[in-house]
Amino acid sequence: MPLEGDEAAEARYQQLLAAGMGEDALEGLVAALYDVSWRVRKLAAELLARVDATPALVDRLIHVLGDRGQTGARNAAAMALAQLGPPAVPSLLTLLQHPDPDQRKFAADILGELRQPDAVGELIGRLEDPDPNVCVAAAEALGRIGGVAAGRALERLLDSKEPLLRLCALEGLGQLSRPPPLPSLLPHLEAPETARSAWRLLGQIAHPTAFALLCRGLLTPARDAALAGLGAREVGLAADGEGELKVTLRHVEQAEGWLTQALASEERALRHGALQAVQAAALSSLAVGVAGAAEGGELAEAALKVLIRLGLPGANALLAGDPPALTSLGREARSVAGEAVLRAAEPVLVPALAALAAAGDFELAELAARALGRSRSEAAVAPLAEMLDDDLLAASAARALVTLAVTVPAQCTQALLQSLERRPRPHALRAYAQVAPPAEALAMLRRCAHEADERVRAAAAEASATLGVELLSTALADESALVRRAAARALARLAPADALPLLRRALADDEPAVLTSAAVAAGELGAKEVTATLEALLASSGAVALAALQSLFQLGVLSIGLLQSAARHADAEVVKAALTFAAGSAEGVKLAVERLQHPRWDVRVAAARTLAVSGGRETLIPLHAALERETDALTRELMMVSAARLAER
């Protein structure tokens, strides 16, 4: 049953929400900062932060900050001020000088949260505050705001007599990635209060001595901190560094157990350090832990790199056991483990991969299929053949058999044939057509061209250029668009003279998917005879127009007039393709300059790229103008690359 108090609080909450944020609501909101329920206070703070930040409002909130004994209200007011932004700054700077240390601390906290560079000077002054809490708040704020002056001040603070302040200084410098000179850091590695932060900061110093110290640290009781220091390094392990680390780890007691724990730590730097250690010592038995460190995604690439280095023994460890060890991992870790297994696929892994395929998890079975395909082992054929009969896995298995057929063609062909004889399926058919001897493939395709399942007929048509004109012509008249599309795509593999009448027919289809395939085929066939039809298709919707444009380019018949109309197309992909094909002509450059104003960000990027390859230096002017206008960060960044390239010429 709901508690009485909760219901009342709920009513106040709803009331506040309903009152909104008008002028007259202001008093109510300020009053609500004093509410006994934190939810109401929080809502009031959030709503206040959205009110016009007048000096009067800032003063009211600052006044609340001064209300001793009202902790809840003060915190809520601080939250609102932090969200108000720049308008609150002048009053907060004044507040830094308030006689009440609590208020000075609030001011420092909020200024840090606002990351106000203007506040740095005043905050540095507060590092000498008689009240240690204010000093700490000021140091933390400086660590957030950053800049040269803040960094220097924090460095000076390393000499403070207060351990807490030294700690703040180290943390702040770490946050700013601004390690102090090595000699001033060394004393802090020893002191228990500061060791953790100091070791981590040491990792930010890119110097062989720092690295050597970190290695030595692994042999001390502060080894977790030293490992996290290794993990704080931005750069990867250089070859000599790896050697040094490897030698060090030989002397670490029970390294495996310790690193296993570190790999599972909540602390990113520690996990990262452990990854480097595992790589250096080539501890393939820890592969599962390494993959586990990828969970959450942050360290996924780093973990993958280590797993790849661990190679076959690592892959073996991931696949060991029943159920295979990697089934116990979370999704991200599994995907990393999966890629590592795939890259290490060797004949000896086949039994383990077959077991993985049967472990009952779809994604893992799919992975097993891919890896079996790469194993270059005859033993992989049987498990793949079994998967061909599973509707969900058939596609992966068929593809894998095509890959495997490079090594063991006869067995793969046989497996596909048997599966098709049990029941024709599109993927197996496509694969069979690729690997079987031509005459046998032909016989099978003929048979399958009459199957009731349209997907099988489509697969037959697609693979059946060798079947000749007659069957493709039948397929182009199929009632299923899927089959006609597949046939249109296969036209490109006929002799041009045979293909032309069929191509004309396909280009008159009323299904966009068929038209698209036909347009692509026209380009591949070099069929200049259908130029007029392709030109007309430029006015169609995205997919068809794009295919027509590409073919016209391939045929070498793309006039500037056509390019201009393509560059006006409603679909951004068509416009982008037009810009690509326009590179190289003076008119194309003009088109690109105009497209710098296009509403789509990706078109503007493509236009800039065209200028980078074909514009003269004079086009730098419109490009710079476009950069001036550009408000989207990524677009700006990509356009700058083009501008730089253009300027170099």
């Binding site: 508690l3 929400l17 995604g297 942050e298 999704r331 009952g360 997919a543 794009l546 992909e573 960000w601």
Partner: protein, 285 residues
């Protein structure tokens, strides 16, 4: 020799942005900037399967190919988390069982009908859990009870229909619950008992697809847990609005513990239960 020659292609910032925009449009999915490598790795097998050289090609496939719809669904499936298990968030479920189900029993006493919806049901653990809770209360014996599970992932729905589960799905299921609600099928694997399974039905639904939503009945309670967090704010708002439309007056909406409607105003009333905050479409609305 490992297969060095076909190492994973690089996903450029531009391609990532295009894919993000496309998926946002398709299902409201919000891909965080720091997930670039995750996206690159998860979609790589698709590039391979479709013989595409790079992610631009994949983007064009998703936009233009005749099979684009299917492929977009596949991509979503690969990128959206599906993590779920039986009896997830027990405090909330306890409140539902002890406080909401009795209320619903009263509310619907005359019709003797109960409609629940697990929106974003993944592999089915959540709707089956609801079926089990209903059985535990004993309040609805002889009623017409229907639980709908919907998801955008067809693969998850296939698994849901099979109703067979292993240790990961059962991680917080007690031995007693296991004995009451499941039949063992092999070592470590269990199937949901037929009686509980029969009143759960599954369907494919993109929560942003309004026409699809219309096919569902009005609900007495909607569970949508750990789905909205992956959606972009506008999509979230749209989905919550659909839930409102889909609920009977007096019906309840239950969200995951890290999700709330507080950041945008809605007409839902907040109801404080002992173990949970839930939302209610007010009786007169």
């Amino acid at each position: 020799m490992p297969f060095e020659e076909d190492a994973r292609p690089l996903l450029t910032a531009e391609e990532f942005r295009l894919l993000k925009e496309l998926l946002l449009d398709a299902c409201g999915l919000q891909l965080r900037e720091d997930l670039k490598y995750v996206v690159e790795r998860r979609l790589w097998p698709r590039l391979e399967a479709l013989s595409l050289r790079d992610y631009s090609g994949y983007y064009r496939y998703l936009r233009f190919d005749a099979r684009a719809r299917e492929e977009v669904e596949l991509a979503i499936e690969l990128l959206v988390p599906h993590e779920t298990y039986f009896f997830r968030e027990p405090t909330q479920l306890g409140s539902f069982e002890r406080e909401l189900l009795p209320r619903l029993c009263q509310q619907n006493a005359s019709s003797r009908k109960l409609r629940l919806w697990s929106a974003g049901c993944s592999s089915g653990e959540e709707p089956y859990t609801l079926s089990m809770l209903i059985a535990e209360t004993g309040l609805f014996d002889g009623w017409d009870v229907q639980i709908h599970g919907t998801d955008i992932s067809r693969r998850m729905l296939t698994a849901a229909r099979a109703a067979e589960y292993g240790s990961s799905a059962l991680r917080t299921t007690t031995p007693a619950q296991l004995a009451r609600h499941f039949d063992p099928i092999s070592a470590g694997r269990f199937r949901v008992k037929a009686g509980l399974k029969n009143r759960v039905s599954f369907g494919h639904l993109n929560l942003l697809d309004e026409a699809g939503l219309k096919l569902l009945p009005r609900m007495d309670a909607i569970f949508c847990r750990n789905v909205l967090i992956y959606l972009e704010p506008a999509a979230r708002r749209k989905v919550v609005h659909s839930f409102w439309e889909q609920l009977v007056a007096g019906g309840y909406l239950l969200l995951g513990h890290s999700e709330s409607l507080l950041t945008f105003s809605t007409d839902f009333a907040l109801v404080q239960l002992t173990g949970d905050l839930v939302y209610r479409r007010p009786a007169g609305a």
